[in-house]
C-alpha cells in the first residue's frame, strides 16, 4: 500500500509536468473576413453610444510604463465619456506574443496591442489586424511626419502596417574616463570593427597579479547587435531583400560578413579583451555601469539610466561599421502598435486609431522621448522646445539623431521580415556562444544555425500559405 501510494505520488508529480503544454485551446485561427481589414471612418465613434473601451496590451515597465500611463490618462481625460483606453501590462515582448496567440485561439484579442519589431511578419500573417495605412487613407492623414527609416521598417508593399511607437537604435557607449586614463581621446571613437578591436586591446587593464580589472569591450550576447552590424555593412539577414520584396524563404546571415562579425567578437573574448557576461542584457549593462568595461553596445533606451548611474563620463558614438567602407546604417528597433480587426466593433477600431494618432503626435512623442530615451518617431518632435532642452542636457543623444539622419532607407537597414525572427535571433546567439567556446569556427556555427532554422521557416511559411 505504502509502496503503491508512493508510486502513485511519483506518477502524479510526473503528470504535472505535462499540464504546461496543454493550455492551447481547440479553436483554430479566426479568419479575417474582408470587412475586418477595412478601416471605419470617424462616424463610427459618433454613432457609438456610451464609452468605447479599448483594451491595450503593452510590455512597458518601470519608467517607461509610468510615462505611458501618463499619456493614456491625458488621452482619456480629453475623451471623457467617449473613449477609455485600458492599458494592461502583459509581460516582456516575447511573453506578450505568446499570450496574444492564445487570445487569437480564444477569439479574445485586445483592440490594441504593442508588438516588438521582430514580430511584424507574424502580426501581418496572423490576419488579425487592420493596417494603419487603411486608417490613414480613410482620413487622408499624412504619415510624412514619421521618420523615414522607422516608417520603412513597419511598411510592407509600400503600406504602413502598424503605427510605430517606441523606437530605439543601438549606440556605441564609451567610458570616457577609461579613454583618458589610457591616453586616448574619447572623441576619436572607433568607426569599424578593426578599430574597435585595436582600441579594446589598449583599453584592457590588468592589475599587478595579471588579473583583468577592466575589459576593453563588453556587450550582451544579443542577436540584435549582429543584425545591426549586418545592416551597417549593407548585408541582408534573410533572402528576398530581407523578406521585403517577397516572403523570406531562408536566412542568409551565414555570409562572409556574418562570419567576420561573429569571429571578431569571439576572438576579442578569447583574447581576454572583451568581457563575456552571457545573454542577459542586465548583466552586460551592470558591467558597463560598474566601469569594468570601457566600450559597450546598447540601445539608446538605456542612455538616461547610464548617465544617472555611472560614476564616470559616459560618451556615445555611432554604432560601428563592419569595415570602413560600409555604406549602411542601423536598423531601427523597438515596437509598434497594432489595431485588431476581427471581433472588434468599428467604434473600438476607430478609438484605437484616435489613440495611435495621439501617441505619435509631435508633442506626445517629445514627452515620450524625453521621459524614456526612446527615439521620437515623429520628426517634428525634435523641434519641440522641451525636446531641444533635453537634447542639450544629454548631448550624448545627438549621436542617435545624427546616426538616423545619416541612414538611407534600404532593404538592409529596414531589417529582416521573417515569421520566425525570434528563433533566428536565438540561433545567432547560440552561434556566438559556440564560436566563443571554440567548438566551431564562426562560419560553421552560423551555417549550422541557418540549417537548423530552415524547417521552422518552411513550417511557418506553409502554415500561412
Amino acid at each position: 500500500m505504502n509502496k503503491s501510494a508512493r508510486a502513485l505520488a511519483a506518477l502524479l508529480v510526473a503528470g504535472l509536468s505535462l499540464t504546461a503544454c496543454s493550455s492551447s485551446g481547440d479553436s483554430g485561427s479566426g479568419s479575417g473576413g474582408s470587412n475586418d481589414a477595412a478601416a471605419p471612418g470617424a462616424q463610427a465613434l459618433d454613432q457609438a453610444s456610451g464609452v468605447t473601451g479599448v483594451e491595450f496590451w503593452h510590455s512597458m515597465t518601470g519608467k517607461n510604463a509610468e510615462v505611458l500611463t501618463g499619456l493614456v490618462n491625458q488621452f482619456n481625460a480629453a475623451h471623457q465619456g467617449k473613449i477609455e483606453i485600458k492599458p494592461q501590462f502583459q509581460g516582456k515582448y516575447d511573453e506578450l506574443v505568446t499570450k496574444y496567440k492564445a487570445a487569437v485561439q480564444q477569439k479574445g484579442t485586445p483592440a490594441l496591442v504593442q508588438v516588438y519589431d521582430i514580430g511584424t511578419r507574424f502580426m501581418i500573417d496572423s490576419k488579425q489586424t487592420v493596417p494603419a495605412q487603411a486608417f490613414a487613407d480613410k482620413d487622408a492623414f499624412s504619415l510624412d511626419d514619421l521618420d523615414a527609416n522607422i516608417r520603412n521598417y513597419y511598411s510592407v508593399g509600400g503600406k504602413l502596417q502598424s503605427m510605430p511607437f517606441n523606437s530605439s537604435m543601438p549606440l556605441l557607449y564609451l567610458n570616457t574616463d577609461a579613454f583618458k586614463e589610457a591616453g586616448l581621446d574619447p572623441a576619436q571613437a572607433p568607426k569599424d570593427l578593426d578599430e574597435l578591436g585595436e582600441l579594446a586591446k589598449k583599453l584592457t587593464k590588468k592589475d599587478a597579479d595579471g588579473k583583468t580589472v577592466r575589459y576593453g569591450f563588453g556587450a550582451a550576447i544579443y542577436g540584435w547587435f549582429v543584425e545591426q552590424l549586418l545592416a551597417e555593412s549593407g548585408t541582408m539577414y534573410c533572402d528576398n531583400d530581407n523578406g521585403r520584396s517577397n516572403k523570406a524563404g531562408k536566412v542568409v546571415f551565414d555570409s562572409a560578413q556574418g562570419a567576420r562579425i561573429v569571429q571578431w567578437w569571439a576572438d576579442l573574448v578569447k583574447g581576454g579583451y572583451a568581457a563575456n557576461t552571457g545573454r542577459t542584457t542586465d548583466d552586460a549593462q551592470a558591467a558597463f555601469k560598474a566601469g569594468t568595461v570601457a566600450m559597450h553596445l546598447e540601445s539608446t533606451g538605456v542612455l538616461r539610466g547610464y548617465t544617472e548611474a555611472a560614476k564616470f563620463g559616459v560618451g556615445t558614438a555611432a554604432f560601428p561599421k563592419v569595415t570602413a567602407a560600409d555604406q549602411g546604417g542601423p536598423v531601427i528597433g523597438g515596437a509598434s502598435l497594432w489595431i485588431s480587426g476581427p471581433g472588434h466593433s468599428d467604434a473600438e477600431k476607430r478609438a484605437a486609431w484616435e489613440f495611435e494618432k495621439f501617441l505619435t503626435a509631435p508633442e506626445q512623442q517629445a514627452a515620450w522621448h524625453t521621459g524614456t530615451g526612446y527615439f521620437p518617431v515623429n520628426k517634428k518632435s525634435l523641434d519641440d522646445p522641451k525636446d531641444k532642452e533635453w537634447v542639450a542636457k544629454y548631448p550624448q543623444f545627438q549621436t542617435a539623431i545624427d546616426q538616423l539622419k545619416a541612414t538611407k532607407p534600404t532593404p538592409a537597414t529596414a531589417g529582416c521580415l521573417l515569421g520566425v525572427m525570434p528563433q533566428a535571433r536565438k540561433g545567432v546567439e547560440t552561434a556566438i556562444e559556440q564560436t566563443i567556446a571554440g567548438s566551431k569556427p564562426a562560419q560553421q556555427a552560423l551555417a549550422d544555425a541557418a540549417k537548423e532554422l530552415q524547417p521552422a521557416i518552411e513550417s511557418y511559411n506553409s502554415s500561412v500559405g
Binding site: 502524479l12 509536468s17 492551447s24 485561427s29 496567440k101 507574424f122 545573454r279 551592470a286 558591467a287 521552422a456
Partner: protein
C-alpha cells in the same frame, strides 16, 4: 457480545453496498481532481504530440508519430537527454550523500547541534526564485563573490554561468544547496526514529563512530535514503526555475534539460511548437516513470524496512 457472530454476516452484506458507496463518495473529489488536472492534460498532451500546429499554436493537422521520429533522429535532442541525465546525476548523488554526511556529523554531541541542525535545514525555506537570484549574484562574472575569492588565490575569473564547461555544474550546485534543507530534514527525522535500544546494543558491543554509522545508522536509514533518491530524481528531472533564472538553457544549450526544452519549444522565442513540445513532454513522462520503476525494482530490494 455472544450475539455478534449471528448478526455480523447479514449486517455485513447490507453494509457492503453502503461501504462501497461511501468509499467512492470519499474518493470522488480526488478522482475528479485527478481526471481534471492529470488525466485530461495527459490525454491532451498525447493528442497534441500527434499534430502539427498553426501559426497560433493550435493543432492543425494529424502527423502521426512524426514528432517522435524527429526527436529520435535529432542530435540536439540526444544532447538534451544527456544533459538531463548529467544534471540528475549531479544533483541527486551529492544532494543525498551530502545530507547523509551532514546528518551523521550532527549525531556527534557537540555544542549548539540543534542550532546547526536548524541552520542546515534552512534552505528548505527558500523559494526556487530567491535562491536562484542569490546564486546568480555569487556567480556573476564581473562582481560575483566566487570570482572575487578565486582572484585572491590568483585564479580565474571563471564564467560560471557563461562558460559552457561550467554552467551545468553551477546550476547543479545551486540545486543541491536548495535540496539540502529538505534532505537533512528527512534524514534527521529518520535518525530520530531509530530505536534507541539498537544503538545502545551496538554501543555495548563496542561499536562507535564510523562503525556505528556503517552497520547501524545507514542501514536503518534505508527507507529514508530510498525515499529521498526517488523524490530527488523526479525533482531533478523536472527542475525549471533555477535553469530559467540562471542560464535560460545556455550557453550554447549546455544547460538545456528536457523540461527546459519543452518550455522553449512551446513558449519561448515565439515558437509555439506545441506538437514537438508535447512529444518531448511524453518522453519526459516515460523517463520519469522508467527511473522510478527501476529505483523501485532495484534499489528497494536492498532497503530494510524496520
Amino acid at each position: 457480545m455472544p450475539t455478534a457472530p449471528h448478526t455480523a454476516p447479514r449486517a455485513g452484506r447490507r453494509n457492503r453496498w453502503g461501504e462501497h458507496g461511501l468509499a467512492w463518495a470519499f474518493l470522488l473529489p480526488s478522482l475528479v481532481v485527478f481526471v481534471l488536472f492529470i488525466g485530461y492534460p495527459l490525454g491532451r498532451t498525447i493528442y497534441l504530440s500527434g499534430h502539427a500546429n498553426d501559426l497560433f499554436g493550435a493543432p492543425s493537422r494529424y502527423v502521426g508519430m512524426k514528432h517522435y521520429t524527429d526527436l529520435l533522429t535529432s542530435a540536439d535532442f540526444r544532447r538534451t537527454l544527456v544533459t538531463t541525465a548529467l544534471f540528475t546525476l549531479f544533483t541527486v548523488v551529492p544532494g543525498v550523500l551530502g545530507a547523509l554526511v551532514l546528518v551523521l556529523l550532527l549525531e556527534n554531541r557537540i555544542r549548539g547541534v540543534r542550532l546547526l541542525r536548524s541552520a542546515f535545514a534552512l534552505p528548505f525555506a527558500f523559494s526556487v526564485a530567491s535562491a536562484s537570484v542569490v546564486f546568480a549574484v555569487f556567480f556573476n562574472p564581473a562582481s560575483g563573490v566566487l570570482n572575487g575569492l578565486l582572484s585572491h588565490v590568483g585564479l580565474g575569473p571563471i564564467g560560471w554561468l557563461t562558460d559552457s564547461r561550467y554552467a551545468l555544474v553551477s546550476v547543479a550546485v545551486t540545486t543541491v544547496w536548495m535540496n539540502l534543507g529538505y534532505n537533512v530534514l528527512v534524514l534527521s527525522a529518520g535518525i530520530g526514529s531509530i530505536p534507541g535500544e539498537i544503538v545502545e546494543a551496538a554501543r555495548i558491543d563496542g561499536a562507535s563512530g564510523l562503525r556505528l554509522a556503517r552497520s547501524i545508522t545507514v542501514p536503518m536509514l534505508g527507507p529514508n535514503l530510498f525515499f529521498l533518491t526517488v523524490v530527488s530524481t523526479v525533482h531533478a528531472l523536472q527542475s525549471f526555475g533555477q535553469i530559467h533564472i540562471l542560464t535560460k538553457g545556455g550557453p550554447d544549450g549546455s544547460t538545456r534539460t528536457l523540461v527546459y526544452s519543452v518550455y522553449e519549444k512551446a513558449f519561448a522565442y515565439g515558437s509555439s511548437d506545441f506538437g514537438t513540445a508535447s512529444a518531448q513532454a511524453v518522453v519526459l513522462l516515460v523517463v520519469v516513470l522508467a527511473c522510478t520503476a527501476v529505483q523501485f525494482g532495484v534499489l528497494e530490494r536492498k532497503v530494510h524496512y524496520a
